[in-house]
């Protein structure tokens, strides 16, 4: 491949104060949208579209992509500090990041998240670059049958992590699937579980549901418990840069985990429709299964922060593959970005591979640069975030509750979602209290639509024997293997208390 085509756009960006300025402006904006629960990258892109009207297509696309690329870097902040996911995929970071914060290691967790996000994002961009020649066969290898089984695999995989009870984990995952079925049935058009409520016709808002299941129970627990989020007494509310640096070093102490989860995240991101939450959870599970001392996961193990955070950022590179070359968004965030690209005059599709490689490489480098530079921007802003952990719950609870309600409202601009969120919050509180793991709910909710669509397509194409396809059998084997591994681990006496990840 012509090196000029590859590196010319990089030179163009780093020598242009305008483009570099846009990237540097986009980073804190993206971190902000990620850090405020309920806002997220999709809303961020939507709100920023008016600002890029009239911009050069390259500049506008670079700005929006850079902003979208670092949303999950910001999303890890409330996940670690408050146990509240900034965005859906950041929920996996809570599992170990929040216990670390409670132990007084918020800075280290933030540093690990920061380093992992930056490196993951860069690897994701490089993955995108490396995959350009072999893109088509990889994406087309997955049929509807595999999409359905991949959804089931995702739920089983996450439920497996619930060391206390696989039954509870899968049941909560199925509850998420059930909630995803609310709305107009896509095949017959009849109302399903809507109870004649108009706001439910388009389904349950994922944002409202996630905020209800995660944010509200955390605030209720904090209120019942009282005190600050961190279970640390007498520590000054000061920012300790050495903790953050230590966290960044942790990423380099686990180089293979970082590289593996980055690649897994990018591959999952490249599969349309699965590029969101699945990447971070699957990479978290991968870390639990492959790392030494898995019993430490869920109790504040820094590897439990590194794995999902690398995946969160690397998947954006993967998601760009189908988005740019097939016009098929790799994730819901990419769908919004796709619309913004079209609005800027960029027409994604196979023709980009013929006459738009300059733009494609510019976007790849913008992605890599945004992730790399986000480390420094984040470092400059982190002191304020770390200090938030010592804020008394009494002051924090009402503000986070208002923000959660705001997020639920903004997700669909419907006040009914606020009621729904409150109701799910009560359910989530009791699920949390009695050991029903909540993350499988989110996976079920997110993958439910894909699962239903896929199984209908698979049945229409292959009939009831769809699961006998070779790749389907591989996925079924993976599901069975996941359950068997769980049972084997549970039977080992030293790991019975094992992997507790409930958040």
């Amino acid at each position: 491949m012509d090196l000029g085509v590859m590196f010319g756009p990089l030179l163009n960006i780093i020598t242009s104060p305008y483009l570099m300025g846009l990237i540097l402006l986009a980073i804190p904006i993206g971190i902000f949208f990620g850090a405020v629960p309920g806002l997220g990258g999709k809303l961020g892109v939507v709100l920023m579209i008016p600002f890029v009207f009239g911009m050069d297509p390259l500049a506008g696309a670079v700005f929006l992509l850079a902003m979208h690329a670092v949303v999950h870097t910001g999303g890890s902040i409330p996940s670690i500090l408050f146990g509240v996911p900034g965005t859906g995929p950041d929920a996996a970071t809570i599992v170990d990041g929040y216990p670390m914060a409670q132990r007084g290691e918020a800075g280290r967790a933030l540093g690990a998240s920061l380093g992992a996000s930056g490196i993951g994002g860069v690897i994701g961009a490089l993955f995108l670059a490396a995959m350009l020649p072999v893109l088509r066969p990889v994406v087309l290898a997955f049929s509807p049958a595999e999409f359905f089984l991949l959804a089931l695999f995702g739920i089983t995989f996450i439920a497996m992590l619930s060391g206390d009870s696989l039954i509870k984990g899968i049941a909560v995952g199925f509850l998420g699937l059930m909630v995803s079925l609310v709305g107009l049935d896509p095949h017959s058009g009849v109302q399903r579980f809507t109870f004649d409520q108009l706001f439910l016709w388009d389904g349950v808002s994922v944002v409202a549901a996630v905020l209800g299941i995660f944010a509200i129970p955390e605030m209720l627990s904090l209120g019942v418990r009282g005190g600050a989020i961190a279970e640390v007494e007498g520590k000054p509310a000061r920012y300790d840069i050495s903790q953050v640096i230590e966290g960044i070093r942790d990423v380099f102490r686990n180089p293979w985990l970082t590289v593996r989860t980055s690649i897994i995240g990018a591959v999952i991101g490249a599969i349309p429709g699965l590029g969101g939450d699945a990447a971070s959870w699957l990479c978290y599970g991968h870390a639990v299964q492959t790392c030494k001392n898995p019993e430490n996961f869920g109790k504040g193990d820094v590897r439990g922060v590194i794995a999902p955070e690398t995946a969160n950022n690397s998947k954006e590179g993967g998601s760009l593959l189908p988005t740019l070359f097939f016009g098929v968004p790799g994730s819901s965030g990419m769908a919004i970005l796709l619309g913004a690209f079209v609005m800027l005059g960029i027409q994604p599709g196979p023709q980009l591979a013929i006459n738009g490689m300059d733009l494609v490489w510019s976007l790849i480098w913008a992605l890599a640069l945004a992730n790399f530079l986000s480390i420094f921007v984040f470092l400059a802003m982190a002191p304020a975030f770390s200090m938030l952990i010592f804020v008394r719950g009494a002051l924090l609870i009402p503000f986070v509750l208002v923000l959660a309600f705001l997020g639920a409202f903004l997700s669909e601009a419907g006040w009914e979602n606020m009621l729904l969120m409150a109701a799910l919050g009560v359910l989530g509180y009791y699920l949390k209290k009695f050991g029903w793991p909540r993350p499988p709910f989110v996976i079920g909710l997110v993958l439910g639509g894909i699962a239903e669509d896929s199984i209908f397509k698979a049945l229409a194409i292959w009939g009831p024997t769809f699961f006998l396809r070779p790749m389907s059998l591989v996925l079924i084997g993976l599901i069975v293997m996941t359950i068997v591994i769980y049972i084997i681990r549970l039977r080992k006496p030293d790991r019975k208390q094992g992997i507790r990840y409930d958040v």
Binding site: L47, S165, I167, K168, I170, A171, F174, L175, L177, M178, L181, D185, H187, S188, V190, R192, F193, I216, L220, S221, G223, V224, R225, G226, R392, G393, A394, L395, I397, P398, F399, L401, V402, F405, L406, F409, L410, A413, W415, M418, L419, A422, G425, V426, L427, Y429, Y430, L431, K433, F434, G435, W436, A451, E452, I455, F456
Partner: protein, 150 residues
Amino acid sequence: MMFDMRKTVTLVMLGIFTGAVLIALTLPSQAAFMPFLVGIPGMMLCAAQLVIDFTTAEDAPKASQKDGFDDSRTEAQMFAWLGIFTAFLIGIGFQWGGPIVVALFVRYGSRDTWGNACFAALGTFAVLFGVFVWLLELHLFQGLIIERLM
């Protein structure tokens, strides 16, 4: 106690799946397919969990106490506050309801001073108005009562 909260939660889960399957019986076959596919295994899992709950010793409350669930504030109080937040924000919206309910929580929920309550309320108003309305130009919900009055 025969039915503690642990078993009640399992029963609620079982009830949700059972209800969904019963409702699905009234739907056309295509629309009912996925609810059956998900609901029936869900019922079976929850029934199995219920059996486990009845056959194993209660240990959840101990864990809860360890986590500090029953310390200074009762769950009932927090649920009441959740209800108050919901009512205020749906009733009079974010711009007015938000600061008021934040101030009420800080003053009465956490028994803080009026000064801190006002400071928290002003901060909430500044963020809601300054960031979301002024900077991001978002339309915040005005509240059902205020919308009706206007």
